[in-house]
């Protein structure tokens, strides 16, 4: 099972818009709360009231700053990071038990919590830090792309999407089949120049990131500068007031 499927029926994944994410953590806590009671349960926190509380999180939001260059301002980018459901994920092939696998059906990379031995080797093999160890459960945890939501007939059809995507208030997260060039997510990637993280590692991530757009803090074509103060401002205002009188102004 740690052998990868030759092809997958779909390539389900996420598209994350770095131009829109404000770093509100909605995706992170929604992920945590769904998985704590869902497929990845229990995800217990250690020392939750103490000096260094910690538990498994399947989605964490980094904050980066792009240093100012000549002519450009600095910028802060909020950067959600979770499993990218790669096409050739070494985290799967290194697994000695077959607990890690990539689903032939939809490309989701999953861990079978019943067969994982908690050796952590998969976390070593993942360049993206997507796999975390659940100390209490003794097994590895990772983003399941909410495999227990996206097909769940007990949820309303609109809710059958990953918890993080449903939660996202800005609409910075998109879910769909990246193997279908006609899908909305594929189109978005095409339009916005979606990119892979660490492409040189050769893992072929399914998830894509949309780059922050260029700032618009320089003069734009078509917008006229206003006249500089020349002492005639009052005259202009009086003329305007007169025009208002002559028009159907009031």
């Amino acid at each position: 099972m740690t052998a990868l499927p030759d092809t997958t029926g779909k390539k389900l994944g996420l598209v994350i818009d770095l131009d829109t994410c404000v770093g509100c953590q909605a995706c992170a806590t929604s992920c945590k709360e769904w998985n704590t009671q869902g497929y990845s349960a229990p995800m217990t926190d250690r020392d939750p009231r103490g000096s260094d509380p910690d538990g498994p999180w399947l989605n964490r939001i980094h904050g980066y700053e792009i240093e100012p260059e000549s002519g450009h301002d600095s910028r802060v980018v909020h950067f959600p990071r979770s499993c990218l459901h790669c096409e050739t994920p070494a985290c799967v092939t290194v697994c000695p038990t077959g607990a890690s696998y990539k689903r032939a059906e939809d490309g989701i990379v999953l861990i079978n919590p019943d067969t994982c031995i908690g050796c952590k080797l998969c976390s070593w093999a993942c360049p993206y830090g997507a796999r975390e160890y659940d100390v209490d459960h003794g097994v590895m945890k990772k983003c399941t792309l909410c495999v227990d939501r996206i097909y769940n007939e007990n949820l309303e059809p609109e809710d059958r999407q990953p918890a993080c995507v449903k939660a996202c208030p800005t609409g910075a997260r998109h879910f769909g089949d990246l193997g279908d060039p006609g899908s909305a997510v594929s189109q978005l990637v095409l339009e916005r120049g979606g990119f892979d993280l660490l492409p040189e590692m050769g893992y072929k991530p399914t998830n894509k990131y949309l780059p922050p757009r260029t700032k618009r803090n320089t003069p734009q074509a078509g917008i006229e500068a206003l006249p500089k103060g020349d002492g005639s401002a009052m005259d202009r205002l009086f003329k305007l007031a007169d025009r208002l009188l002559s028009g159907a102004g009031n």
Partner: protein, 307 residues
């Protein structure tokens, strides 16, 4: 990478054990019998004891030790699984070899083939262990052509030193092992020197820019969580370069010392014992450094500008 003591213990202990076992198999095959029953039993107990202790330690390191048997299933893709299979397969052959080699079961014709087979299996197991690390592209310092040879020569050097020391303690001739041990030690020193040269000069061309796609001027501003997480603890540890350099020097000093003692042991056999002990300490240190110098690519997301 976090230098977890369980893993360091496993690789050093089982490495020495497999090295010893391989040398027992090879010398046994050459001589056709053990020098004495006591020697056979003692060396086999030490070799298999080290191997077993190491394997147990690595098993206890698992989150679910009771499921360890499952690790034997994925030998087609996983070097860790292959290691498990090789380790398990080695046992019966090693025991069979031990029985005939020690003379407890008198099938003299079986000694040579079983010895060679045991040696091959033992070294194969060490090979698979090396491969686990060498195939992880996420850690440049491990993903090196010399990783596996170093594991093998370390096993032979430490196993050889052990063999020599045990022989000395039992008042026996170490036979053909000393030149092998010495050669392995020399190779180890050279490979390790070369290895460190390679990783020091390897371009750290994986960048935060490529990890984040945010261009070359990106830096970490805020950590995702202010409390430390598994990924940071497991993969975020990198020893400071200056500290590493010092430890490397100490390592070579230990190798030099072990080599010197081995050389001295050719005339005063008793020196073989401290030589082995020092080499085991060197192994521990080298393995600690192996982890601590293993810079994982995930650190790029946690503030490391390049890896």
């Amino acid at each position: 990478m976090n230098p977890a003591y369980s893993v360091i213990f496993f690789t050093t202990a089982s490495g020495a054990g497999y090295g010893l076992l391989a040398l027992l198999g090879l010398t046994g095959a050459r001589m056709g019998h053990a020098p004495s029953l006591l020697f056979a039993i003692l060396t086999l107990i030490i070799a298999l004891g080290l191997i077993t202790a190491g394997l147990l330690s690595s098993t206890l390191h698992l989150g679910r030790p009771e499921r360890a048997w499952r690790a034997l299933s994925q030998w087609r893709t996983s070097w860790l699984s292959r290691e498990g299979v090789a380790a398990i397969v080695t046992y019966p052959f090693a025991l069979a070899f031990g029985l005939v080699w020690s003379g407890l079961v008198a099938i003299p014709d079986a000694v040579a083939p079983l010895g060679i087979l045991t040696a091959i299996l033992a070294l194969t197991t060490v090979f698979t262990t090396g491969k686990i690390y060498a195939t992880l592209t996420t850690i440049r310092a491990w993903n090196q052509p010399l990783t596996v040879p170093i594991y093998l020569f370390f096993a032979l050097a430490s196993g050889g030193a052990l063999h020599w020391a045990i022989s000395t303690i039992l008042g026996m001739e170490p036979g053909t092992v000393p030149p092998v041990a010495g050669f392995a030690l020399l190779m180890l020193a050279m490979l390790k020197l070369r290895y460190w040269g390679l990783i020091d000069n390897a371009p750290r061309d994986r960048t935060m820019a490529n990890a984040t796609g945010l261009g070359e001027h990106v830096r970490q501003w805020e950590v995702p969580h202010t409390s430390t997480n598994f990924v940071q603890r497991e993969m975020g540890f990198v020893v400071a370069r200056r500290h590493a350099q010092r430890l490397r020097k100490i390592f070579f000093l230990l190798l030099l010392l072990a080599g010197g003692l081995e050389g001295a042991a050719t005339s005063v056999p008793a020196f073989a014992v401290p030589a082995a002990l020092i080499l085991l300490i060197a192994a521990w240190l080298e393995r600690w450094l192996f982890f601590a110098e293993g810079e994982h690519v995930v650190t790029l997301f946690y503030g490391n500008p390049n890896a």
